[in-house]
Every structure is written in structure tokens, then in C-alpha cells.
Symmetry: C3
Subunit: 464 residues, 3 copies
């Protein structure tokens, strides 16, 4: 069993789901935005768990076609009736204020107020989530029931104690060096206020992934980016064009805590190794996940997959943005995410990393006819409850296709046998001296003897 | 909106359908064949509307494996009973005479007569259409009802006042020069007598296409060939081997006036740009059309797609030859075609030309991350009733895939968004200085700056 | 009609099915194994019909990763009750003894006996077939009903008069030289005792194929290998590495006498010419067969398709191993196979060979436009009951795609017209001087004139 498979196996005893849920719950009340103290507070909480470098990028900094915006902070906000009663109150839910609202303190008519209000008539007791990052404005979000109780003839006090000033955009980065400088990127947006699935679920899963991976000795280096959506990813890319060239595989994580099945949106390349690794893991889940073709909208894979970068970065989700009614509403709360679903997401990510960590090509040292499995005690299951036929089939598949040109992932795809079984089989066959790993070096040197081959880093292209 | 899109948009106000129908109706009574005065008269009528060069190729001229046949003309024909009554009369329908019948004037028995008669028992009041171009013979086509009224003991006068003599094969050609000498070919057979869908529908549509295109300044040159089926296309190809090398895209038009949905038969190449352009247009019709694989039978695409030429020429139809009962019968009359269906065929052709005219690759000038659409007023719909999500999606698709390697047609195919929306989006983004067209020249010069790129002619292969 | 098509056509008059069945029935009683006299006796019977070279490979000979085992022979075996009655008797069925059982002569308790017994509880009156080639052991196979009649308190005499000693592994080889030294391999395992479908069916079909092919003058050389499964194929390959390089196409035959539809398991290459030829033949059977993807388990294609050889060898079956209840039981008897099914298998193999023998590319000598079929009397059916439209379509398909790059198999696949029709069409068009066969030589010489082309040997790769 690989080290990551061991981590996955130990997850249940550890009750990782409860830990993931509790961390998301701790962060839930904070009013985050694309800048400001809520974002900083969130990153500090993450930094308490994993080694996190926190970056502050001043307002006004040009980042590609964009400019880092002013920093927004908010302390209080309400709509009060003529008797001074707070009928819409930021203290009840930070969704009540349009994110990035400029300060206001005024008495306004119902008509004027209404032009600044947002509701969801179809879900009359849900509060929508709205933002106005790039147009200076103010507004309130409320339930449709609240709206309907307002008096059209009334006057209302609107009060938003916010600030929009020169400051900084904050993001956090956790870098875990591995044997190779080639990187796996995990990116989660962390700009949403009290929304549980989108995206505290992914923030929590990413944090605990970093925590788990930090204890391992891995082939790849891992980089976790916690940044506000769009502008944060753009800022990170603008400041890390070199680091971006080292990204071999990447996952944007979002909405991974709800009960929906998994959805993986492929990278722009469409058949990169991470796309195939994710498809491989999703295929063998008890509730098989679905793969979606790349499209240039969604989450921050939009930036990583912009044509200048074209990085092999996909997006792992359970619920897909914009397709479920709770999306961007107060119904995306702590009841909408579940410990078990978070735990499974954490395992799925580790499973994808496990494929990427262990995917390489081998060479069968007895390529002429099958080796005699029986005399090596390989014609039965070894110490386990595995399906015997599958175990033997896996051995035959790995032996037959280990011609130096097929990776373990190729073999898993073609055989329909799950990657961990194929990988364990390759390990066993290496121990039995029937197989040797093939590195780039030996692939290039035509005359090299298989026995001299060393396992070095293999790029995706090696395996295709 | 492109100039061709404007032509399409103006079609309804112009009532193009009625014009197309009326022109077909004018030509309907003429007795056409693969040679002769009916064919000449038809070409003269076309030449009254568009600049048409009429060619006369003498009988006996070798054309590849064939020889231009003798010229056939007919003035009158009938079968009369013993009381001199014309019971089958050419004046009622020119289908009554087997096309290319040699002259005869004789009294014959029922038995002898019958061996020269053709009917359709399943459709007892329809007259079949028959020819005998390459075997000198005579015959009559009649309804099965007419046949059944004949007296088996009777004697009949058969009279065909035709001539089959040295003469010429006539065809017409309309050449509309464009910016490039590369050509789009439109070919319609015009050898059938009074059959409306096959092929007056296509003759009329082609004529009005030439009329419309003659007023435009276009990228491609257009060549319209009006020639008898098979021998006419062969004759044209034999005399125009050089011109054929300039054909970049081509459409054989036939049977485009009936109520059936559109069918596009692919060129022998199977994935040429015209194949993809036609598929693109048919996909987005309110009643989506179907694409058919190439086969070496059908209409004159057989000749254009013969292996020595292998031109990228497909065949656009509504009803597919041989698959509908009215095919090659008197039921393919002016009731079988409709102004609306003709108008739609004319628009579909223009739509295909519009794709070909405007298909090229662009380069995103801000390839690193998305450009900020909001500050360019590109994050909402612009002055229109378009679906806002689609409009924004189109912008993101065009920006993301404008890497110099994807054509607009590639992007339309991959995004599922109709070509005109993609094309208009590219135009808008060029105006917004976010995009620049890529020409062959800049594609070849690796170091060239995108801003220097000029839009030159792009062959299909550039985009694949 | 090709010579092989004539052989197929004559099969029914010859009653080949009865001959195939009778030969299988003659061999049925023999107790075969992977070595020994039963195997020798079987090969001698084959050798009485076709020129067969019989090879004896001494025990202990290393063959790749394996070693030729000791030779096993058996004369008698039984389990007797305390009254000396043979209650399980080798003379009733040679399946009663675990194949390769070592000798024993002992009185044992029910408990000890039971650990050496094998039954099929779901099919209580069938005897299973079991082997113990590589672990020295003894055992009996019996019906579950027999087992249930044993007395748990009883003592039993077990007697196996076998020998396991230094000797030889025997296999037979029939080589039929053709015009080319390139070979088609037909391999059938012949190590199973009284099992009719697996594999007397294939032994019989292969024998009669060799008999039929021996009388023909063929393009390819044919090599038939009759060898024990796994170790026999490995032994043959170890001793024939050179011959293996001459194998261009190959079929492992097994289980071809049962009533199931045909199944063809593709070679590891997945799209080799034999894979396509088999698919072509199976597609046009009255009960269309199915193609299965390659997997590294099954019959001796496992060895031929091991990565060091990677030969284009597939496996033709009716019933697929392991998927039907009679597999490896006494129910795979002479009632389970049928003369008609054997005859059809023989014809299917000949059909596949016919494709391989006659598959080559042609060049249309009139590539510019269609040749005029009418004046060559090619626009109607010629002397036959064939479907006229198909016949003419076949001519057009062959003419259009005979550009030197498409083989007849390519054309059959693309047109959907059966290979023999396409092949006969090519023959006719050659006779009509419209087509000329293309050989490797002329394909390589770019300037060569088509009329100089000679038909030489074409490798598969030429046609892809």
C-alpha cells in the first residue's frame, strides 16, 4: 500500500469528517470578501493548522489586465424602521449586505430603498448572496418575506458601517516540497462570506490535505493557494509566472461538501494526466462521479486554463456551480454540507494525488510469453480478501502492458481495474523481480538495459 | 453583422421565397435534357438574371472516359388510338416521352407498344421520368391508369417528332471574382424536364445566390456551374482542370425546395471545411438537419469527388434522391416545392458561405488570465435581445480559444454556440482591442508579434 | 470467385460438417494432457490426415521462464468402497481423475478422501475437469450425486495407476508453404481430455482447414500448431523465435463447435489486419458475431500477444471460455457440439483467410470522374441473382476508393458491402481494364505509372 493509500485507510479511524466539518463551522460566521479582515482572519485560521505564507498585495497593483482593488471592511449594517427597529441586520447574517457595499447612513424612502434590495421570490425565506466589487454601490439582501413586510409608504434608516480604502489583497500559500520541483497545485477560493459549500467545504478539505501531505515524503511538490476568486488567482499567477511553469497537475476545489455525486471538470487540454487521474478515481467510487468537458467559465480554472498558461488544472466539485437552488444563497449553510461528504472529498483528492504520485511505466523483464506465476506463488491471492480473479487478471494486465510505453494509469483505464489494485500489483511484481520501472532516461537511451533503468520523473507526455 | 448575414436578414422583407418559387415555375414547362434547346432556353433564363457565360461543347468531344453525346431535340409526341385520339400526349407533360427517344412514326400493336411503356403501378396516376441517353431507343411514360385503359387488341399510332444529331452540349457558368482566386463552387444539374424539386429548386436557389453574391465584396471567388447531370459535370471538369485546383469548397445543390429537413452529404474527404460549415449551419436550424457520410453515388459530387479530383465538395439537399415516392415522377411538380422551403435553402447556403467567408483564427492579446470584461462594458449584453449568458459565454469561449490554433468554426463546434454569435463576438473583441486575426504569414513567423498579424487567406488545414 | 470462396462453396456438397464431427468424435475418448501418450495419439490421428511434423521436447528443457514438465501417463484409476466396488472409475470418464495426478494406492478415510475430491454442487450430475500440472498431488472429480452417496464413516481404496517421469512434451506442426514466406498461424490447444467443444472442435476444424489449404496455391504460407495449452505454445515460441517474426496474421481457435454465435477476441494490437478481417466476416454472418477487446487472459493468444512478441494473433470462438456452465465439465461432450456449427466455423476461418489472401489496394486507371460504366456493360448485374443496386454500388465504391491508399478491406468496411462482393468487383474491374493492383514497389516509387504496377506482397501497414 502506498503512503497515500495508508493515509486514506487511516481516515475513518481518525474521524476526519468531523474535523473537516468543525473547521468549516468555525470559519462559517466570518464575513469574507475578496479583500479585508475577514479574509485575513480566515487565512490565519488556516495558518494555525498548516505552514501558510500570507501575502499582502497593495491596492492598485497591476495584475495582468486587472488592478488589485481597494480593501473593503465592514463592521455593522442594518435597515431600521421608523421606530429604530433593525428589520434587516448584518449581525443576523453577513449575506444581508451586498458584499463590497460602500458606507451609507441615510433615511430613504421605500422606493429608493427597494432599488438597493435583492431577494429570491422563488425561495421566500432565503437570502441571496450578491457582490458589487467593481462598481461602487450599496445594497442589502434579504428574504422575500422580509421584503413583503416593508411598508411602501415607510421611511427607512439604512446604515452600512463599511470602508473601501487603499489597503491590500491577501492570499495564503502553503508549499510542501517534494522530491521533484514539479508541482501539484490545489487552489480554493476563499472570498465568500457565510456560505458553507461554496467554499468553506473546499477550504477545509484543502487545509486538511496540506496537513496530511506535509507528513509524507512525496514525488511531487505541492502548492496550496487560498485566494479570493478570480482577482486572487489572477494576482497569484501574475506574481508567480515562474512557479506556474512548474505546475504539472492541478485541482481547483469547490463545493465539495454537499451530498451530490462528484463532478470533475476537465482542464482545457482535455486529456491531461490529472484529467485522467480524476476520471479514474471517480469511475471507481461507490457512486461513480461524472466528468465534464472544459468550458471557459466556472471557478479559477478559468485563469489557470487561460490560453497564455493553459495549465493542466481541472476543477473538482460535488455540486456544480449555478445548477442547484441553494447556490449563492443563505441555504448554502452548515446544514447543506456533511462530515461524510467532506471526508469523501478529502479521500478522493488523496486518491487522485496517489495516482499522480505513483503513475509510471514499467518494463516486463520476461516479455516473451507469460512468466510462470505459479512457481512464484502468484497464481492465487496473497493474504487478502480481494477478488482472486481480479488479482490474477491485474497481474496479467500489468505484465502484458508493461512494455515501457504504457503507464499504470493506461493499464488501469484499459483493464477497468482500479488504479490502487494495478499499482499494488506492479509493486508486487517488482518485488518478485518480474518488473522494473522505466524512467525518462532509459526511454530515451534505446540501448539501455531495463535493469539499469531508474525511476525518474515522468511527464505526462511520456505516457501517452 | 457580416455582409452575408445582412443579406440573410433582409431576405424576409424582400420575400425571396416568392421570387425563387416564381422563377422555378417559369422554368417548369420547358422540356430539358442533357443537350438541346430546352437546356439552352433554361440557361438563357438564368442568364437574364445573372452574368452567365454559356458554353457549347460539340457532340463527339472526348471528355475523360466519355464523349459528348449527340444533341437531342423534341417538338411533339403522342400515342394515338385507332380513331386518331391522342391518348398519351407530350403537350400534356414532357415526362410522357422517354428523354432522348429517337424519332418514330409507326402503327404498332399493343404488345409492341407495351414493351416501350413505363408506369408506376403503386402510384397509378403518376407519370414516371425515364431516360435513354446512351442506348438509342424510344419510349413513353404514362400513368398506370392510362395503361390499363389501352385495348390489348388495339393498334396504336406512335409518333415522336424528335431529332438526335450532331450538335452540342450546353452549360452555363457564372464567375464572381473575390479577393482571393480561391473558389467556392456551386453546381446544379439542369437536365431534368418538368420536375420541380429535382432540380428546378436548386437551379432557382443557385441563380438567386449568384445574384445576391454579385453585389458583395467577398473573400472567395464564387463559381456557379449550371450543367446537365453527370456528362455536364464531367465536361466542365474536363475543360477546367486548372480551375478545379482553385476550388477550396463546393456545394452540389439538389432537391432543396421540398418540405423535408435538410440533408448534407459530406465530401469524400469527410471532414473538409465545407463539411464542417454545413454541419454547423444545419445543427442550429430550428429543425436541425442531418449529415450523411460520403458515398460514391448521388449527384455530381460523384464527379467532383472522383479520386483524381477529390475536391472538398458536398451535396446539400432537403429530400434525398431515391428515398421519397415523388422522386423522378410527375408528382415532383410545383405543388411539391414551396416558397418558404426554397427561401430557407437560399439562407442555409448563404449561412454556409458566411462561415467559410469569416472563418479564421484569432489571437487573444491578453492571453494570461481573463481580461477584465467589466471595465470594457463586456460583462452584459450589448444593445440586444440576446441571451445574456450565451453572449458572455461566447466572449469567454472566443477569448480562451483564440490562441492562434483554433478557428472560429472550431470554437463554434466546441462551444455549441452558433457561428454567427461566435463571429460577432470575435468582431466585438477585435474592436475592443482584445483580439487580433491571425494570418498564415504570422502563423509561420514564430517571432512575429500578434499586433503585426494581418488577416490573409487561411486554408482549412491551418485550422485543423 | 477466389479459390478459397470456391472451397467454401463446395463445402455443403461435401458434407464437411459430418466429417468434422466424426473426427472430433473419434478423438473424444482419448485421455489427453499437456504431455503423454494421449496427446501423442491425438497428434498421430491428425497426422493421418495432414502433413504433420511431430516434435518431442524433453522434460527439463527450459522454455523462456518455464521448464518442460515431466511426462504424465495414466492407465487406470478408481475409488472403491469397502466391498471393492469401483464407485468412481476412470474407465467411465477420464475426467474422473485430476489431470496430472501422481500415482496412489491406499486405503483412506472419508475425511482424507474428501480433501481430494471435486464436484459441482450446482450441476449435481456433471463431473468437473481439474488439473494439477505444477503441484504434485492427486485427486478425483465426480458428480455431486456420487459424492453425496459416500459414507462419511467409510474407508475407501483409492488407486491411480499413473506415472510422472522424465519424458517429453509433444506437439505437432503442419507447414504449408505459399508464395510468400510470410505466415498465417493457426493454433489450437490439444491438451484437454474428453471435452468436445474445448477443444476437439478446434482441433478438428484446424485439421480440415489444413487439409483444404494444402490443395491451394496461396499467397501466404500457413502454419498450424497443435500443442498443449500454455506450456505448448510457450515451447513452440521458445523454439521458433525466427518463425514467429514471419507471422503476419494468426488465429487461436477454441470452442468453435457449440451453438453460440461467433466471438472474435482481438489481438493486443487491436486493429491488426486479422482483427479487421475477422470483424468483416463476422459482421456479414446471418447471425452476426461479436468482437471482444483484447485482454491478457484466455487461450494461447496470451503467449502470442505477450509484449515481447506482440503478434497480430486473435482468438476465434463460439462460446467464450468461462462464460457458459458446461465449460470445463463433463457436459462439454459430443452433444454440446454440432456438425453444422463446426462446418460454419470452418467456413468462417476460410472466409477470414480469403480476406487476408485477397486484400490489396488497387489504382483506378480513370481517376478523373467516373468511367462510363454503361458502354462497358457494367451498369447492370452480370449473369447473376445479386442485388443490382449493391453490385453497381460496389463498382462505384471500388472505383472511387481505389486511389492506391485504400485496400479492399478498407472499402468493404467503409461501404458496408461484404468483402467477397468487393473483391469480385475489383476482379471484374481489372478484367475491364479499369483497375490495376498496387504493390509495395509502385507505392514507393512516386513517379511510377499505374500501368507498370505489379501486385507484390502488401503488409498490413500498407493499407492503414
Amino acid at each position: 500500500m502506498t503512503s497515500l493509500q495508508q493515509v486514506i485507510a487511516h481516515a475513518s479511524s481518525r474521524n476526519i469528517g468531523a474535523e473537516l466539518y468543525d473547521f468549516a463551522a468555525d470559519l462559517f460566521p466570518i464575513c469574507r470578501s475578496i479583500t479585508g479582515n475577514g479574509l485575513r482572519q480566515t487565512l490565519q485560521a488556516i495558518g494555525a493548522r498548516i505552514p501558510l505564507e500570507i501575502h499582502e498585495v497593495p491596492s492598485g497593483t497591476p495584475v495582468f489586465d486587472w488592478v488589485v482593488p481597494k480593501e473593503w471592511n465592514i463592521r455593522d449594517a442594518y435597515i431600521a424602521d421608523d421606530q429604530g427597529r433593525r428589520i434587516v441586520d448584518f449581525r443576523d447574517s453577513n449575506l444581508h449586505v451586498v458584499n463590497y457595499s460602500i458606507p451609507i447612513n441615510a433615511r430613504v424612502s421605500y422606493a429608493e430603498l427597494k432599488s438597493h434590495l435583492h431577494t429570491i421570490p422563488e425561495h421566500p425565506n432565503w437570502i441571496p448572496y450578491r457582490t458589487s466589487y467593481y462598481k461602487e454601490d450599496w445594497g442589502f439582501c434579504l428574504t422575500h418575506e422580509q421584503l413583503q413586510k416593508l411598508d411602501p409608504d415607510g421611511q427607512y434608516d439604512v446604515y452600512i458601517d463599511s470602508s473601501l480604502e487603499e489597503g491590500a489583497l491577501t492570499y495564503g500559500e502553503c508549499y510542501l516540497p517534494g522530491q521533484s520541483e514539479h508541482e501539484i497545485l490545489i487552489s480554493s477560493h476563499c472570498c465568500h462570506p457565510s456560505l458553507a459549500n461554496d467554499n468553506l467545504s473546499a477550504i477545509s478539505v484543502a487545509t486538511f490535505l496540506a496537513e496530511a501531505l506535509a507528513r509524507q515524503n512525496l514525488r511531487y511538490s505541492y502548492r496550496f493557494v487560498f485566494a479570493p476568486g478570480t482577482i486572487g488567482a489572477i494576482t497569484w499567477l501574475a506574481r508567480n509566472k515562474d512557479a506556474a511553469t512548474r505546475i504539472r497537475h492541478g485541482l481547483v476545489l469547490s463545493g465539495v461538501g454537499s451530498a451530490d455525486k462528484f463532478h470533475y471538470k476537465k482542464s482545457r487540454r482535455g486529456n491531461s494526466e490529472v484529467d485522467r487521474a480524476a476520471a479514474q478515481i471517480l469511475r471507481h467510487l461507490s457512486q461513480a462521479g461524472s466528468c465534464l468537458e472544459f468550458s471557459p467559465y466556472g471557478y479559477d480554472e478559468r485563469q489557470y486554463c487561460s490560453p497564455g498558461f493553459n495549465l493542466p488544472v481541472g476543477c473538482l466539485m460535488r455540486s456544480v456551480w449555478g445548477t442547484f437552488p441553494e447556490y449563492h444563497t443563505s441555504a448554502d449553510n452548515l446544514d447543506f454540507v456533511h462530515a461524510d461528504d467532506l471526508a469523501e472529498a478529502w479521500c478522493v483528492c488523496l486518491g487522485i494525488f496517489d495516482v499522480l504520485e505513483n503513475n509510471c511505466a514499467y518494463r516486463n523483464l520476461n516479455p516473451f510469453c507469460e512468466p510462470q506465476l505459479g512457481r512464484r506463488d502468484l497464481y492465487g491471492a496473497q493474504g487478502g480478501s480481494h477478488n482472486i480473479a481480479e488479482v490474477i487478471h491485474a497481474r496479467l494486465w500489468v505484465l502484458n502492458f508493461s512494455d515501457g510505453n504504457h503507464s499504470l494509469l493506461d493499464i488501469a483505464e484499459r483493464s477497468g481495474i482500479a488504479f490502487p489494485v494495478i499499482q499494488a500489483t506492479a509493486d508486487l511484481l517488482v518485488r518478485k523481480q518480474l518488473l522494473v520501472a522505466v524512467g525518462e532516461e532509459s526511454l530515451r537511451r534505446e540501448q539501455s538495459h531495463a535493469s539499469e533503468a531508474v525511476l525518474t520523473f515522468n511527464t505526462t507526455s511520456t505516457f501517452r
